[in-house]
């Protein structure tokens, strides 16, 4: 097991380095430049050249990258010229809000999707399966921004049940206004429910056809006992991996949800940074999301290996 984790950790580090290289190069290829963003539209070419020299932007890209990476490894994600705060502080303020939104959404999605997928598999090709499958396809194929708009129009404008705007302020202020979180959470959760429930259904169906199910039944176990004691536990194993791998998908959902519902999380931070050419913030957010995705994937693999020894045994004894 230790060897397996070590191998996966090394792979994760390599992937992370690649992510940083790609992000760094892509963001530096963006037009406009930091100097003009900082010095303003009326800055002279001389002033811009001076700024770039002072800040090392005139150095070759590999040199700039190495210096940036060195700072990142020492915990310095840079300073936002536009927002007058260190990127670390900005992320520390915004990331928990995004994590709250994403966490509640995923939790809700799992709580609904697991029973739904399970019921669909147990009632395969019956009316309830067709109805739930249709619903899942509908939400899965619905763009999140469209879904958000429909929710706003229905519940905030037409019936005025929930506010059109997410709660603002600190985490405490956000938690104090749970009604404001309903629509942003639903936007992410409804699409995720469709996504997760399809996997739970197929995973359950696959397990229902396994030998151990036939054996349990032959031993006289009731259908319910087989379903809940044996099949459900095994069917959920792939879902663990899925949750880890779905982090980028969930982040994309939060980005849209934050924009539509004006939620002051990382999405707003990223959007404003993009508009203002605030490269340190763009780099910081992208890096953090990249790290979260890779770490999520790594944790999912480790959990999967813990839950299903065959995974690590296959790796260790090829």
């Amino acid at each position: 097991m230790t060897g397996y984790i070590a191998r996966r950790a090394v792979q994760a580090v390599v992937v992370l380095l690649l992510v940083t290289v790609i992000v760094f190069v892509m963001l530096h290829a963006l037009p406009g430049g930091t100097a003009r963003a900082v010095l303003g539209e009326r800055a002279t070419n001389v002033a811009i050249a001076q700024f770039e020299k002072q800040n090392g932007f005139d150095q070759p890209l590999p040199v700039q990258y190495w210096r940036w990476l060195d700072r990142v490894l020492h915990g310095d994600l840079g300073f936002s010229y536009k927002q007058n705060e260190s990127v670390s502080e900005l992320l520390a303020e915004r990331l928990p809000k995004t994590m709250l939104l994403a966490g509640v959404s995923v939790l809700l999605a799992l709580l609904v999707a697991i029973p739904l997928g399970f019921v669909q598999a147990l009632r395969r090709n019956r009316l309830i399966d067709y109805v739930l499958t249709g619903g899942a396809f509908l939400f899965y194929s619905t763009p999140a921004f469209w879904l958000a708009l429909v929710l706003v129009t229905l519940f905030a404008i037409r019936f005025r049940i929930f506010p059109a705007q997410a709660p603002q302020g600190s985490i405490g202020q956000i938690l104090a206004d749970p009604a404001g979180l309903v629509l942003p959470v639903l936007t992410i959760a409804l699409v995720s429910i469709a996504f997760f429930s399809r996997y739970v259904r197929s995973s359950t169906l696959e397990n229902l056809m396994q030998d151990y199910v036939r054996t349990a039944r032959a031993k006289g176990a009731s259908t319910m006992r087989v379903a809940f004691r044996h099949v459900l536990r095994n069917a959920l194993v792939p879902v663990v991996t899925l949750v880890g791998l779905s982090l980028p998908f969930v982040f994309a959902g939060t980005l849209i949800s934050e924009e539509i519902f004006n939620y002051p999380g990382t999405g707003l931070l990223f959007y404003n940074a993009a508009v203002a050419r605030d490269y340190p913030v763009l780099l910081g957010v992208t890096l953090v999301v990249g790290v979260a995705t890779v770490m999520g994937s790594l944790l999912a693999d480790i959990c999967y290996a813990l839950l299903d020894p065959r995974v690590r045994l296959t790796r260790e004894r090829p």
Binding site: L30, P31, G32, G33, R36, A37, V38, L39, G40, E41, R42, A43, T44, N45, Y81, K82, Q83, N84, E85, E89, L90, E93, R94, F145, W146, L149, V150, V152, T153, L154, A156, I157, R158, R160, P163, A164, Q165, Q168, G169, E258, E259, I260, F261, N262, Y263, P264, G267, L268, L269, Y271, N272, V275, A276, R277
Partner: protein, 593 residues
């Protein structure tokens, strides 16, 4: 002056499709009389938030959101502009009485009104000299600074008494220009609270030496770089404007409460004024439709739905800002620059732009043409009859005839070719084919260039269009310098130029030879002389001469201008005046009973 980016409609069209399908309409009516108190919430434009509190603004924070809509609520300039919808001085909102110029206009005496700071101290001449000393010592960090302008053009500040001082200028200036574009940028700051070099340091006359002024500036900048403390740092609580900051978040949320010590004639009636940031226009529209803001806006692409939103208790009111829109040519282009330098060619190009058609068809009537450097709206004393009269009306046949008469063989829907004497530097065989980069993300900008391309094709001018993000368009449009690649030919960022902190539209930043925002490297000695005359000579005649010459010469192609925003103001909110300078005066607002 501030370069203005076009609004991005985002998902607005889609939003209204859903809205129409699903929502119903209700209505509210305002009643007579106003009530004291209440909280008014203003929706900030998507992605535009106040993020800098120190009034000596650096380049990264030089924006309408910071200056006109944030700082000026707390610190008033000597002369505040924007009066009754016109770009003129707002005397009641200004900190000083009208300036008195000497006979030769080389000395100006200013008398401060007897105002108090919020901590009970009087606003004095010393507060002005404090600002001036900081500006002099740190001018390169001040985004509003232009070489030769204030503080360079002030040789001395002579203090007469606590409320009166005289600026001795390096020569005579136009009083109109000096008041509008120089004095309006100067806002006294509280010397008795801010003249220190550290948080624990003693307040003193640190600013009276250059080194001391730099140290004070550095300290204040260091404090300004802690936005999370904006509402709690005692420094920023010493204000002379009608509002004090009570809450601020780094996402741009700002809440203000009345400054009880405000000495001006118009005291705040509201209990609180909130600036609410929004991620996108879509987010704002959602909240507007659920009556979540008192003062919001409608995306331009959804203007046809104004009446539906009005039915929800809002008044539709386009906010006319003080600006112009245009498309620069690159006169320095080594390939097509010689063609651009031909006046007849620029005239032909202008005649291919159907400004009135754009306004009626693309802007749905909410816009107006630009004919020169002085805006024709809002009503103002500066714009001339010649500029108002649209010198080059839309006429593809006229454009074609003009080109033919100057040696071009016209190939409609093809590429016309120079076959005669087409002007200095234009070779026989030269073609009328140009690249045009325009800002992506704004449907109306895209429609404008497509319509222009079609019209130009009638005269055999081929425009090769390419889209790029606003930032790239601005970066591409930088004035060309010797030794650097200079490939752009025509660019259009779509938002034009806003005459905000420099309300007299003198064009010194866009059209003067070598000016920083003279993207196309236009250079004309007659125009330079005209601009200097506007700056140095009293009266409106120099302005008329300058703008008429620019309107006739076409240093750029004039394009129609849109309102700053299509405001939706709650019918319960009274007293809202939309300043063309884009400043906010919520002290004039109140809720109806």
């Amino acid at each position: 002056m501030i370069l203005r980016s076009p609004r991005r409609p985002g998902l607005a069209v889609l939003a209204f499709a859903v809205a129409l399908a699903l929502s119903g309409c209700g209505g509210t009516q305002s009643t007579g009389g106003t009530a004291k108190g209440g909280t008014a919430t203003l929706a900030l434009p998507g992605g535009t938030t106040p993020d800098f509190i120190f009034p000596i603004v650096d380049g990264a924070h030089y924006s309408v959101a910071n200056i006109e809509q944030f700082q000026r609520l707390m610190w008033r300039p000597l002369y505040m502009y924007g009066n009754n919808g016109k770009p003129l001085v707002n005397e009641p909102a200004s900190l000083a009485d009208a300036p008195v110029f000497s006979a030769d206009d080389a000395r100006v005496t200013i008398t401060l009104k007897p105002y108090m700071w919020s901590d009970g101290q009087p606003v004095t001449s010393r507060d002005f000299t404090f600002l001036f000393n900081l500006l002099k010592a740190n001018k390169s960090n001040w985004a509003a600074y232009l070489p030769g302008d204030v503080p360079d053009n002030v040789k001395d500040v002579q203090v007469q008494n606590d409320h009166t001082f005289t600026l001795v200028l390096d020569h005579g200036y136009s009083p109109t220009w000096f008041e509008a574009n120089q004095l309006s940028q100067l806002m006294p700051i509280p010397q008795h609270a801010w003249d220190r070099t550290s948080a624990s340091g003693q307040v003193g006359d640190n600013d009276t030496t250059a080194a001391g002024a730099k140290a004070v500036y550095d300290f204040l900048m260091s404090q300004a770089k802690q936005p999370s403390t904006y509402a709690t740092n005692p420094l920023w609580q010493v204000v002379d404007g009608p509002w004090k900051l009570s809450d601020y978040r780094t996402d741009g949320y700002a809440a203000f409460v009345p400054n009880k010590q405000y000495s001006g004639p118009v005291k705040a009636k509201l209990d609180k004024f909130i600036e609410q940031p929004f991620t996108t226009e879509q987010a704002e529209l959602n909240v507007l439709r659920s009556n979540g803001v008192d003062y919001g806006y409608l995306p331009q692409s959804d203007v046809s739905q104004a009446s539906a939103i009005e039915g929800q208790g809002y008044t539709f009111s386009p906010w006319v800002s003080w600006g112009i829109n245009y498309i620069p040519f690159n006169f320095a282009s080594p390939t097509v620059g010689p063609i651009f330098k031909q006046l007849y060619f620029r005239q032909a190009m202008q005649m291919l732009i159907d400004q009135n058609g754009f306004v009626s068809n693309l802007f749905k009537g909410y816009g107006w043409p630009t004919n020169g450097p002085v805006p024709i709206k809002p009503d103002n004393p500066y714009v001339s009859q010649y500029v108002k009269g649209s010198p080059y009306k839309y006429s593809p046949t006229g454009a074609t005839a003009l080109l033919k008469s100057h040696g071009w063989t016209i190939h409609p829907d093809g590429v016309s070719e120079c076959t005669g004497d087409c002007g200095t530097g234009v070779a026989v065989g030269a073609k009328l084919q140009f690249s045009l980069i325009y800002a992506s993300g704004d449907t109306i900008v895209s429609q404008e260039v497509q319509a222009w391309k079609s019209a130009a094709a009638q005269a055999g001018i081929q425009l090769d269009l390419s889209e790029a993000p606003f930032n790239q368009v601005i970066a591409d449009a930088a004035p060309c310098t010797p030794g650097q690649t200079c490939s752009w030919q025509i660019v259009y960022w779509g938002g034009g130029w806003l005459y905000g902190v420099n309300p007299l539209p003198v064009g010194d930043q866009q059209f003067l030879c070598g000016a920083g925002a003279n993207f196309g490297s236009y250079c004309d000695s007659t125009n330079d002389a005209n601009i200097h005359a506007v700056q140095n000579q009293a009266g409106l005649e120099p302005m008329t001469k300058f703008e008429d010459y620019m309107a006739q010469q076409l240093p750029v192609l004039w394009m129609p201008y849109r309102p700053y925003q299509l405001s939706m103001i709650s019918k319960k909110l009274q007293g809202v005046e939309q300043s063309p300078i884009l400043s906010l005066l919520p002290e004039e607002w109140s809720f109806s009973k």
